[in-house]
């Protein structure tokens, strides 16, 4: 067991974790942040995407012990409680959500993209979410949702 401090969504948490625990497992099992999803546990589907120090990251591929002292943002921290982030609003409005399992992951990828590049082209949006697999939508509505926010 290792004692670490994790900064998640602006809150600091003192945790006892196993050295081989992934950030994804710690977020879900210890912090009860179930919005970050486990789709493959091997860094290939993007459903577990979070933002670490401003960069999108696959939380199933990062050990929690390596996240000490870094700023982690999950879907639960995207907007204050009771409010929606413009990307979330846009996702609803554009019909970008079907089963919803990949949704938190691509929203985090999109947030990281827009923070870096507030006016991306469609190709840039596609590249930013290319690591987020979606089996339901065919991606078009997801791209539209992101581009609508970018233009604002």
């Amino acid at each position: 067991m290792e004692r670490i401090t994790l900064n998640v969504n602006g809150q600091s948490h003192q945790l006892n974790i196993k050295v081989n625990e992934t950030l994804l497992d710690v977020l879900r099992e210890q912090l009860g942040l179930f919005g970050t999803k486990k789709g493959c546990d091997s860094g290939a589907c993007g459903a577990c995407t979070v933002i670490i120090d401003g960069e999108p990251a696959l939380s199933c591929m990062i050990l929690a012990v390596r996240c000490q002292g870094r700023e982690i943002l999950t879907i639960e921290g995207l907007a204050p409680e009771g409010e929606l982030h413009p990307l979330q609003e846009s996702a609803i409005e554009h019909g970008a959500v079907q089963c919803g399992f990949c949704t938190p992951g691509w929203l985090m990828s999109a947030k990281a993209l827009l923070d870096e590049n507030p006016a991306p082209s469609r190709r840039e949006v596609q590249a930013a979410i290319a690591g987020n697999l979606c089996r339901c939508t065919g991606y078009k509505q997801i791209e539209d949702a992101i581009l609508a926010v970018a233009k604002k």
Binding site: G35, I92, V125
Partner: protein, 767 residues
């Protein structure tokens, strides 16, 4: 006519209520559920495709701290299956595919359970294995199920004794031999299709709790709680009322994959032995690929006789469906495949044989399209082969033969109605400027269409409960797997009751409370459950009006509902909110519970399990423009045009979403998803090596909704989502032929296949 004007919400595209949960990460899926004292289960899986189990030694694993129990197939004398029960919960006596469950472990956490699997010793005696459905169907082939003759299948499942063929599907009309004799041209082609995995981003998962009296509670992401309940009760020989299925609030994708007993079987196996404690089993991605469910690989031989002018006289189709180690939904997949093997065309003489064959490969079953992707790949590819040989326009050849209202469906003998396929073809042709548009060098266009039967005849029931505050709950066992049924059912109820959409909620299915529904499959929910909730809402409406009539001292026939209020049609002053009618405290003036049930009307004497009569057809057409790189074999898709007949789109944006999503799944099947097997072993059980289309791979898509209203559908609606992937592969192959003159007959269409075909003609870059 713009029929939308007469509706409040039907035909509009209100925002989905579930999306608000999902975008915030607040949607609850099975992996997010935790029960007190819950254990975690893991399954040891076979390393052999076909082998006798000689010995299983679990003693060392049992001694591992944190292990609560281990179960093997020998302790579980049960077999399950929807229409042809043949599958144990865990292998008994022998394993029939690589990846089959052999033993299961329950532990305090997943890591411990996983560790224990490595301590279980199994001795096998390897048996000869069969991977190809044609070889497996041959007389004298090694038996995969020696005891097949003792299995008790549903009446329409017809095994061939002494073989690996567990279902022989036959349809015959007219005289094909005579038709071939009269034909000027005979076309004979063989097409093949590979496996495909659903790749729902959420894996299969279940939590099972069984008490000492065999009362079972199962929390699951299964798509169909009632079908799941009966399959479990039948397998365990217990009354179905001892089994309670509770759906997870949301399911992260289905596409047919979550219909049988997968994680359910593993969780039940453990909970049957370890009582009074909930046990959770969640599949890994590798288990999704190797041990859950796949689309049937197939070999399709199609022979067609055509007159000089292009009139098709006769068609004979023989299909071998590799169903893998167990029947699963194979009997009905092959039956639907049989019904539509000749295509959606008027052909006077048709003979269809379908052989569903056991193979030592992962279990094949339901997957979006449910035989449509295989059958249409063959008949639509051959339509273009015929057109090319006879110098006919492929669109024209289709339009000349395609079914229209009043025609007799060849395989079923049923009179066709609400057939919007011709319109779908015409819409696609107009959008892609089939006549007149000139394409560039190495560019080509292709078109393809399809039909598929909806599962018939099966029932759906619903309750519509109106609360004291005027809000409404729909109690229905349709599961929300992403398809948007929740929103559509809410729209129908809001429309019928004249209440705002946000006053209507849809309950999560639970067989203890929500009424019967056959399944959330086959694109049947909008039509069947839509009818059921519409009838239930109409019943609730009458009850509200009766109560209001008493309170307002008015004959209920003078009253109507709008905006959540009861209105007197003749006396506008008399207005009463529905909430007031029901009594705002303690339901003082009454309670309202509407009941609805829908079962399609069937002609007398019809067989009642997957009949030949079809209550509606799923129909669509795709057109594709491509550019082929003659040097590399790469095919760039320039545009996809997709028209599907929704009958009446209750939620048009949702229909478009189903079309766009179907295109990506169809594109994956057509060009990307290359399931690689070696002697029954899946070589690429991961998203890293099994390539799904990503955002950068998707071409531009023009979705078109055709509305050929169905007389029995709610507001004329039919189902649409299941087959939006189906016509894409043959449309792509036809476009490639149009571009560079090569014909690919096996899916997926990879650059190396295209290149090899070019090189055969002396083109392409040599390697």
């Amino acid at each position: 006519m713009n029929s939308n004007q007469s509706f409040i919400t039907v035909g509009k595209s209100p925002l989905r209520a579930d999306a608000r949960d999902k975008v915030r990460g607040k949607g609850i899926y099975i992996d997010d559920m935790r029960l007190p004292g819950m254990l975690y289960g893991k399954v040891l899986r076979s390393q052999y495709a076909h082998a006798r189990i000689l010995m299983i030694d679990t003693s060392e694993a049992e001694r591992l701290p944190g292990i609560i129990g281990i179960v093997t197939g020998e302790e579980l004398p049960f077999i399950h299956g929807e229409s042809f029960p043949d599958e144990p919960l865990l292998a008994r006596g022998k394993v029939r595919y690589m990846g089959e469950g052999v033993a299961a472990v329950a532990a305090v956490d997943e890591e411990t359970a996983e560790k224990a699997l490595g301590l279980i010793k199994v001795e096998y005696e390897e048996l000869p294995a069969l991977f190809d459905p044609v070889a497996a169907a041959a007389p004298g082939a090694v038996r995969i199920h020696e005891e097949m003759e003792s299995y008790k299948g549903k009446p329409l499942v017809r095994p061939v004794k002494g073989t690996n063929i567990l279902n022989h599907v036959q349809f015959e009309r007219g005289d094909v031999n005579q038709g071939f004799a009269q034909a000027d041209h005979i076309f004979e082609d063989t097409f093949t299709t590979p496996a495909q995995q659903h790749c729902s981003i959420e894996p299969h998962g279940s939590i099972c709790l069984i008490d000492k009296d065999d009362n079972i509670s199962l929390w699951t992401n299964n798509d169909s709680p009632y079908r799941c309940r009966i399959e479990i009760a039948d397998a365990l020989h217990i009354p179905m009322t001892k089994v309670r299925i509770i759906s997870a609030p949301y399911t992260g994708g289905n596409f047919g994959g979550k219909g049988g007993l997968k994680a359910e079987a593993c969780a039940i196996a453990l909970a049957w032995k370890i009582r009074n404690v909930p046990i959770k089993v969640l599949y890994t991605r590798e288990e999704e690929f190797c041990s859950s469910i796949i689309r049937h690989p197939s070999v399709i031989k199609i022979k067609t006789g055509v007159k000089n002018g292009g009139t098709i006289l006769a068609r004979e189709v023989t299909t071998y469906w590799a169903t893998g180690a167990y029947a699963e939904k194979g009997p009905t997949v092959s039956r639907f495949g049989g019904i539509s093997s000749a295509g959606p065309y008027n052909i006077p003489n048709v003979k269809i044989n379908g052989y569903l064959v056991y193979t030592n490969t992962p279990v094949a079953g339901a997957m979006r399209g449910y035989s449509g992707p295989q059958t249409s790949w063959a008949y639509e590819s051959q339509m273009d082969i015929i057109a090319a040989k006879l110098g006919l326009d492929p669109l024209e050849l289709r339009l000349r033969h395609v079914y229209q209202d009043g025609d007799i469906h060849t395989a079923t003998g049923q009179i066709i109605h609400a057939e919007g396929l011709k319109k779908c073809l015409e819409e696609v042709a107009v959008r892609m400027e089939w006549q007149g548009k000139t394409l560039g060098p190495n560019q080509g266009r292709g078109i393809a269409c399809m039909e598929r039967a909806v599962k018939t005849p099966f029932g759906s029931a619903a309750f519509v409960k109106v609360n004291e505050d005027g809000t409404v709950d729909i109690l229905s066992s349709t599961t929300e797997v992403g398809q948007g049924s929740e929103t559509i059912l809410r729209q129908i109820v809001a429309e019928e009751l004249g209440v705002p959409l946000n006053a209507v909620r849809k309950a999560t299915p639970d067989t203890a409370y929500t009424p019967y529904d056959a399944s959330t499959t086959s694109s049947r929910s909008t039509f069947h459950m839509g009818n059921a909730v519409k009838i239930a809402a109409a019943d609730a409406r009458q009850q509200i009006l009766q109560l209001a009539g008493k309170l307002l001292s008015t004959d209920p026939v003078n009253l109507t509902l709008a905006d959540g209020k009861v209105l007197d049609k003749e006396n506008p002053v008399k207005v009463m909110p529905i909430a007031a009618v029901l009594g705002q405290s303690y339901g003082s003036s009454g309670t309202v519970l509407g009941r609805g049930y829908y079962f399609p009307e069937m002609p007398e004497g019809q067989e009642t399990y997957f009949s030949s009569q079809v209550v509606f057809w799923l129909l669509g057409a795709h057109g594709i423009e491509v550019e082929v790189n003659r040097r590399t074999g790469e095919v760039k898709i320039l545009k996809v045009y997709a028209a599907h007949d929704a009958g009446k789109a209750i939620h048009p944006d949702n229909v478009k979403g189903q079309i766009l999503g179907g295109i990506s799944m169809g594109l994956g099947y057509a060009a990307y998803e290359n399931y690689e097997f070696k002697e029954g072993n899946v070589l690429n059980p991961s998203f890293l090596s099994y390539k799904l289309p990503t955002a950068v791979d998707m071409p531009g898509v023009v979705p078109v909704i055709v509305e050929q209203e169905h007389q029995d559908g709610p507001y004329g609606a039919k189902g649409v989502g299941e087959t939006t992937n189906v016509p894409l592969p043959p449309a792509l192959a036809n476009a490639i032929y149009n571009a560079v003159g090569i014909r690919i007959k096996s899916l997926p269409i990879t650059p190396d296949k295209v290149l090899a075909a070019m090189q055969e003609r002396g083109e392409g870059e040599s390697q």
